[in-house]
Amino acid sequence: MTTDTTSSTQARIVADPTLPVIRITREFRATPAQLLRAHTDPELYARWVGPADLTTRIDYWDARRGGRWRFTQTRGTDEFGFYGSFHEIADDHLVQTFTWEGMPDGVSLETIRFVDLGDGRTRLEAQSLVDSFESRDAWLSMGMQEGVQDGYAKLDALLAAQEV
């Protein structure tokens, strides 16, 4: 029982019941070096960070230990600013902070690992740690505020003990 019926390469998500973290895993047909580049090169990053209906502008970006970054996403006249700093950049992992300027007290500590699976495949393992379950659940529910609550409900998924 899983949260989706699609292939194993699709993004998987786990909201830990005992820690305020969200974990996402996803496999890529790419090397760890390519994934690292796509996360640290500002031009490449702006191309995929999305969402699709927003345009991403990099304001500053200093991809080294202790370096800071900020980007702004725009849709019409709406602007959303995000900032943080790079804490560690290694060949197979990345540690950084992430804050939305609309909620400046809320800081997510992001640890992103690139696990080489061989054959040119890499599994990305991203963990977001926040300071409370309320913050974590606010992040999780943010997507729902703008969207329709379509019927994805699959009772089975929740009952798979590991998934919840």
């Binding site: 949260t3 699709q10 993004a11 998500i13 070096a33 659940d137 606010a138 009772l155 929740l158």
Partner: protein
Amino acid sequence: MADQLSAVFAALADPTRRDLVARLTLGDATVNDLAAPYDISLQAVSKHLKVLQSAGLVSKGRRAQTRPVHLEAEVLDLMTAWIERYRRQAEERYRRLDAVLADLDDAGEPHPAEEEAS
């Protein structure tokens, strides 16, 4: 809404409570029925059910003397829908990343041909 989600997460953090929920998906059951397979007291099971009840995950029947426990499936659905929505956003983001990665050579450098084309 986020508060209810937190309560649901907390309620489901316990393996016994997850098991109780799983069994209630098969149908309503009395506290005695639910307690039968466990090596713990009826009181302990009742306590677990109270946590599930305050999270809105289960309710107790009023009419029957045995007051069967009923699973509130739509609360589980709400939580699944939120997580699925978040997951789909992540998947959409990573599909864009797939496209970016296709433009890079093995060392992560942009392909020279792509550079010229753009």
